[in-house]
Structure formats: structure tokens, C-alpha cells
């Protein structure tokens, strides 16, 4: 480890003294420290903080990714300036040298992420103190309870729709309703019926009500704490004031929970959060919430309208499981995992190519990783065409591109899966499981694979090789 750390230290010194890292650090500092004075969001304090955090974290990730790509110069320059001649005549195995270079990049990234994280944390608290909220009741409380926290979300537990679906399927079969159906697939039909029953369940007619059950709400159940019910409702016909009125009940006394009720006026088609004392959660960590589609405000206009809680938006219960500070740390750890993979790619490229080519290669991998979801969709479209690959040149080309992409598809990770910025900005918990998943895929699997390949190529390369 001594030799690996020596190479890493030397690389860090190079990054700092050759000004590469310093330039990025200055850029990073300018962005993080300057953003609070130039963004305003939707003018609310919450919006200002969320906008700042989004921009600052996205910029930090992008700048450090570019720094990692540029730092590959350290290795390719060893060949150009022939310092490698001296290093490799010392008793250091080649794999340790490669590992040292990667470690140097990783340590530099970790330190810079630390700086960025501390600056972002400090600036968030600066904004909170320096800018007044639009109002104490909503804006400041929203910031404190829904943004600067780490909340875990639990979706509503859906009833079992398979039984009514199966009953209807059996009845239809008995009545011979599928006899003339072309390409009849019983499994698909059962699935269609289940979807129909779920859709019916998500619709609440006028004066009707719907019971939502939530499980595994592992929060502090004291009355001084809160749980939050977050939902969005659509209506069949928009009311003139765009507001729907509803009546809510929380907690099931039969399960030992305290029950609460609330009358609500909410704008149609937007997310709303209802804060409820946490003692509405039963001792078995379940919560029952009932939504009544009726107007609880006497004297106000009543629109007999159909409410819909859509599957894509849904309804969920959020409860605090941690602080903003540690949530930020966890996000930075996920970011570090991505940078560790990128550092391995940079090292691999630099063991094979000279600086400009190595840089371009790493940049391409980075772009592929951040746009993988989009590219996958586009190429799926190409490959889903069942026509012959040799039908036309364009078809052949499309297949060839798809094949080439699939070859690297497995190695290049989907960075989008590990984009935790929105999660943090919405005050949701960046879970340890997520970090573990990122570490397993990006570091233990793919970084080790790429670094192993870099070591192999470096081992086989003649350091003083001359090509004409």
C-alpha cells in the first residue's frame, strides 16, 4: 500500500501544482459561492434553496467529472515525458502504479467533493438566514419539514385486485365471451382485468370515499412529530376556481392509533402535503387515511366531481428518518462512486492512448453513461424492428450500431440510476441501500473490471515502445 499511496500522493501533488485541479477548484468555488446571489427560484425561500441545491450539485458533479477526465493526463504524460522510464525501473509492480494513479484521482475527487459539500451545506444555511420566507406558515415550514430533511416515502398498499379479476374472467369464460376473440391470451386478459379494477379503485365518485392503507411507517410515533401525506388529485372536469374541497380522516382507533380529521382546499393537478401528528400511526406501524370526496366547507360552492389518484403520481406517506446534512453526505458518496468509475475509465484510456485521445474516450464514456437511458430507448426502437438486417444498407448500419452499443452497454453504467440530486432537493432520504447498490455496481463490479483491464494492458505495454 505504501507504493500505491506514494504514486497517489505524487499525482495529487501534480494535480495541485500543475494548476489543473486548482482551476477546477476555483470554478467550483465560484459556482457554489456565487449561485445563491444569482438564483431566486419561484421567489419563495423553499424555491430559492431548492434551485440553488440543484444547480450547485449538478455543476459539482459535472466539474468533477471533467476534472477526472483531464487528470488522466497525468498518466499519459508519464509516457510522453518519459518519467515512466524512471518509475518502472524501481521495484514497483505495474498494477500498483495503475492503482496509485486511480487512487490519486479518487482522493482528489473525495477532497473536492468534501469542499463542495461543506460549501453547499453552509450556503443553504446562509440562504435560510439571509432571505426572508414568503410567509412563516407555509414557506419556512415547507423548507424545514419538506426540503431540509431526509424523509422516507411509503406508497399506499393496493388491495388485492386479482380475486375480482379472476371472478370476472371465470364468468366471462363461462358465458363464452372470449370465444371469438382473435389471439386470445388468458394471462393478458387477467392482467387487463386487474388493471381495470385498480383504475376503478383509484377513482372516487362524488360523495364517495376511499380508504388508503400504508405499512412499515417506522417513525417516532410521538404527537410532537409529524408524518406527511403527499398526493395529487385530478378531476374529471376542472372547477372554475381550480380548487377541489375534500375531507380527510387519519388514524385507525381500532388499531390503537389516535385519529385526526382535516378539511382541505387544494388546487387540482398539483402535489399537496398534509402534515399529521405522528401518533396517528398505529403501534404496528400502519396508517389508515380516508379521503372523502365531499365539500366540508359550508357556504362554499360544491362541485360534484370525480377525483382520481393516478397510479403514476399516487399517494404516499413520508416520515423523517434523518437530517439534511447526512442526506447530503450520502448523496456525495453516490457521486463519488460515479467518479471512481470514471477515474478507472480515464486510467484505462491513458494506459492505451495519448492525452487528447484518452480524454476524448473518457468523455465519450461519460456522455454515454449520463444519457444511457435515452440511448437505450432509441436503440431499442431500432432493434425492435423485426426486418432483415440485410434488407438495406441503412438497416444493416442501424443493426451494426445497435450491436456495437450493446457490446459496451453492459460495461457503461447508467448514471441516471444513481442521480440523487432530485431526491435530496425534495427532502427525500438518500438511502444506504442506494449507496450500497451504487458501490456494488459502479465500484466493486465495473471499476474493478475496468481497472483490471487497465492493469493488464499496462502490463503488456512496452513503456519505451516506439511506433513509426
Amino acid at each position: 500500500m505504501g507504493q500505491v499511496w506514494s504514486v497517489a500522493r505524487q499525482m495529487i501533488a501534480e494535480g495541485i501544482r500543475m494548476k489543473i485541479a486548482v482551476v477546477f477548484l476555483v470554478l467550483l468555488g465560484t459556482v457554489v459561492l456565487g449561485l445563491p446571489f444569482s438564483v431566486s427560484g419561484d421567489r419563495s425561500l423553499t424555491g430559492r434553496v431548492q434551485t440553488f441545491m440543484s444547480y450547485a450539485l449538478i455543476t459539482t458533479g459535472a466539474l468533477l467529472s471533467l476534472l477526472t477526465i483531464f487528470m488522466a493526463r497525468s498518466l499519459s504524460d508519464e509516457f510522453v515525458n518519459r518519467q515512466i522510464f524512471l518509475v518502472l525501473t524501481k521495484p514497483i509492480p505495474k498494477w500498483r502504479f495503475v492503482l496509485g494513479k486511480w487512487l490519486g484521482m479518487t482522493v482528489l475527487n473525495a477532497v473536492f467533493l468534501g469542499f463542495a459539500g461543506a460549501a453547499i451545506y453552509g450556503m443553504v444555511h446562509y440562504i435560510k438566514r439571509a432571505y426572508p420566507p414568503l410567509d412563516e406558515e407555509f414557506d419556512r415550514k415547507e423548507l424545514e419539514n419538506e426540503v431540509l430533511v431526509a424523509r422516507h416515502a411509503t406508497p399506499a398498499t393496493l388491495p388485492d385486485f386479482s380475486r375480482p379479476a379472476l371472478a370476472e374472467f371465470t364468468r366471462n369464460m363461462e358465458e363464452g365471451r372470449y370465444a371469438d376473440a382473435p389471439d386470445f391470451d388468458p394471462a393478458k386478459e387477467k392482467q387487463r382485468l386487474m388493471t381495470k379494477y385498480e383504475a376503478r379503485w383509484r377513482v372516487i365518485g362524488p360523495l364517495d370515499r376511499r380508504v388508503f392503507e400504508f405499512e412499515n411507517i417506522l417513525c417516532d410515533r410521538s404527537a410532537s412529530k409529524q408524518v406527511q401525506v403527499r398526493y395529487k388529485a385530478e378531476v374529471a372536469q376542472y372547477p372554475t376556481d381550480e380548487i377541489f374541497r375534500s375531507y380527510w380522516q387519519f388514524g385507525n382507533p381500532l388499531k390503537g392509533a389516535v385519529d385526526y380529521e382535516a378539511a382541505m382546499r387544494h388546487v387540482v393537478g398539483r402535489f399537496h402535503t398534509i402534515r399529521v401528528p405522528a401518533d396517528c400511526v398505529a403501534p404496528d406501524h400502519t396508517l389508515t387515511a380516508v379521503l372523502h370526496n365531499r365539500n366540508p366547507y359550508p357556504g362554499e360552492p360544491q362541485f360534484n366531481n370525480v377525483l382520481e389518484i393516478r397510479a403514476s403520481d399516487g399517494i404516499e406517506v413520508l416520515f423523517v428518518v434523518g437530517t439534511f446534512g447526512w442526506n447530503l453526505v450520502r448523496l456525495l458518496l453516490i457521486m463519488l462512486c460515479k467518479l471512481m468509475f470514471l477515474a478507472a475509465v480515464s486510467v484505462l484510456a491513458a494506459t492505451v492512448f495519448s492525452f487528447p485521445v484518452a480524454c476524448l474516450t473518457s468523455l465519450t464514456v461519460y456522455i454515454l453513461a449520463i444519457s444511457k437511458a435515452f440511448l437505450s430507448e432509441a436503440l431499442d426502437f431500432v432493434t425492435s424492428d423485426r426486418g432483415s438486417a440485410f434488407a438495406s444498407f441503412s438497416e444493416f448500419l442501424a443493426r451494426a450500431i445497435a450491436f456495437a452499443y450493446e457490446a459496451i452497454h453492459w460495461v457503461v453504467p447508467n448514471f441516471g440510476r444513481y442521480d440523487a440530486v432530485e431526491t435530496l432537493v425534495n427532502g427525500r432520504n438518500v438511502s444506504l441501500m442506494w449507496i450500497l447498490q451504487a458501490f456494488s455496481e459502479l465500484v466493486l463490479l465495473k471499476t474493478v473490471l475496468v481497472l483490471g483491464l487497465a492493469m493488464l494492458l499496462f502490463y503488456r505495454r512496452e513503456p519505451a515502445e516506439i511506433s513509426f
Binding site: Q3, T89, A464
Partner: protein, 411 residues
Amino acid sequence: MTSDSVQPVVQTAGLCKTFKDFWRRPRVEAVKDLNLEIRPGEVFGLLGPNGSGKTTTIKMLLGLLYPTRGRISLFGRPPTDVGVKARIGFLPEESYLYRFLVAGETLEYYGRLFRLPQRIRTDRSECLLDMVGLRHEARRPIGEYSKGMARRIGLAQALINDPEFLILDEPTSGLDPIGARQIKDVIKELGRKGKTILLSSHVLSDVEDVCDRVTILYGGQQRAAGDIGELLCKRDVTQITTPPLAEATIERLRDLLLRLEQKDILGVSHPRAKLEEFFLRIVEEAQAANVKTSGARGAGAMPDFLKAPTARDVVDTLVSAATRRIEPTVPVPMDESALAPSPAQQVLAELLGERRGAGGALPAAAPAPAPPGGPAAATGPEHPRPPVQADEAVIQSLVNRAGGDTQRPPE
């Protein structure tokens, strides 16, 4: 210098290197069928004009290039072996150092790669910076150094591990005469210590000054090889050097030669001092007058760890070894032969003139001085176990060092 039975430090057999183009077609045959053998303790010169394959050969010896054909062994192992590299010091033809590191950090870095302990790294770095005359510039980045100063740091890094085998590629290139002289002094001193040195150079006078054997390459092939004294000796001329002679005396000598050998004197002259010696004297005077300079200053002494051991060092080592050996321990049954003194203790007893009783680790009778036939002859009935080979060499060197501190190993 060494017997043929000793394993060579470097051995190559049918070594070839062909550089290829992008399409792997052979382009340049840099080294052809080279057979080299460098024995332990010799200073070996690798000569040849530009493009003769010297540097390519060195790079193959260091594992920086792989041979196209043929075999290389260093200390009996392949050059890519990490264990072998721990025993080698290398000064490349140019100073491939990190421009952003200062001199001290550079030596520290390479010392770490050799896994030297912190204390040794620090001590050696300071000693080597003193030796190359750059202690006062140790905090400047190497990027700011002149070429000569960087070469000096290059030399210092090559010596940080106290190498057994030193490869110097054009070591005096870019150096002023002081630096060149210093390099030669270092090579001579390391040669006296018994280090093996491979010197590649265009400067023939440098090679002539320090090398025991040379090989001359041309077009990647070996053209001549042998002992430098044998190769350069002019057997058809005899040179006699005397204090200044009168003209009449010279005439009488000429007559005498004609009468005795029927040969005439070919030339009579007063030899000139070398420009190098004159230059060094002028610089030494300037240094004595403390003339300010931002370049390298007067070189310091050779660090102790690179010097050949003196008799005192050997005595200290032996005292330390013997002290460790005779520390009281729990008595355990052992056979008679185990009571025989260790060779180190024997030598120590000889040096200190001590006599010990049978209860001690040493025999009751004081050992006799080593006879000319070698230390093995000193082993009598009280010395059933003969000393090992390494200790014979120590005893022999101590005997030889009666009149001086250092002695080159016997040839």
C-alpha cells in the same frame, strides 16, 4: 576481478530488438545478436556512436523494452522481475524527473518506491543532496533547474537505494566539468566498493578513466570487447616519465638507446596538464572565495552508505553482531559443534585480542592469525566448523587493510 564461476550480474544471449511500424512490419533492427556478460564488481563500458543500440540495450536490460529475440538475465532473473529492480540504480540519458516536485520530494518519492524506511529515506536524501551540491536548492521545483542540476538530481535518485548494479546512460551529458568529474569520482568510489556499473557514453575519455572492460557497438552489433588495459595498450612503444632532464642528458640517452637497442627516441616533450584539471582548480578557487552562484555548489563528500566500508565499520559491525550473539539466553541442550564460535566472533577476537573461557561463546585458546594460505588453514581441532565464504572475505580484507581504509576486492 572475479572468477568465472561467479554468476554474472548481466547476461544476454542472442539479444535482438526490432522496432516495428503501426502495421507491425519490421522497420529498424536496433540490436542484433548481442551477447553481453557483466561480472559482479566490474565497471563495464558500453560504447558506440549515435544509433548503435546502446540505449536500446539498456532499456531492454531495464525491462522498458522487450527483446524481439534472445534472452536477458539480471542477477539470474528476468529484467521485469520486481525483486531484481530493487538492486538496480538507473540514470537515464536525460533527466526524466517530475518538474513540479522539488529535489527533496523527488528523492523522497523514489525512496518510497524502493520501500525504504522513513528515517533512511530522509538521511539518504540529505546525504545525496549534499553529495551532488544541491542541498541549498532542495526546495526549488526541478522544472526551474538547469539541465546540469537536473542531471545531478538524476544521479542522486539513481543512488537512493544503494544499488548493487548501477546503469548510467550518458552520465556526463549536460554536466559541467565539475559535475562530470564528480560522476567519475562516484563511479570510481562505487567500483571500489565492489558495485557493478554499466556505463554507456560517447565521451571516450570518461569511459577510459573509469571502466575495467568495454564493448563497442556499431549498427546494433558488437564490434569489439575486452579489458580496457589490454585493448588500449600500445605494445610497440615504451614510455618513461622522469623529472626534467638536461638536453645533454637526453642526447646521451639517445646514444645509449642506439647503442643498446638500435632504436631512436621518437619524441621528447613536457606533458601538458589536462584542461579539466586546470578548470577545476579555477572553480575551486572561486568557491573558496565564496563567489555567489544559483547553480550547483561544490559537491559534498560521498555519503557513508555509498562508501566502501572502512576497517572501523567492519569492527563496529562485528562488535554489534557478537554482542547480539552472546546475549544470555535460557540454556538448552545442544551438540558440540554448536559451541564453535561464529566466524564474526573469531574475527572480533582476533581484532580485540580477547581470550575467553570455555563457558563463553569463544574457545579458550586465542585463535592464531590467518595464515597466508587463507583463513581455512586456521581451523584446527578447536574449530571444527570452518568459516563460511563471506567471512573469509571479511578476514582477508581486514588483513589487506593493515595500511589503509579501503581496499578493492581481490581480483
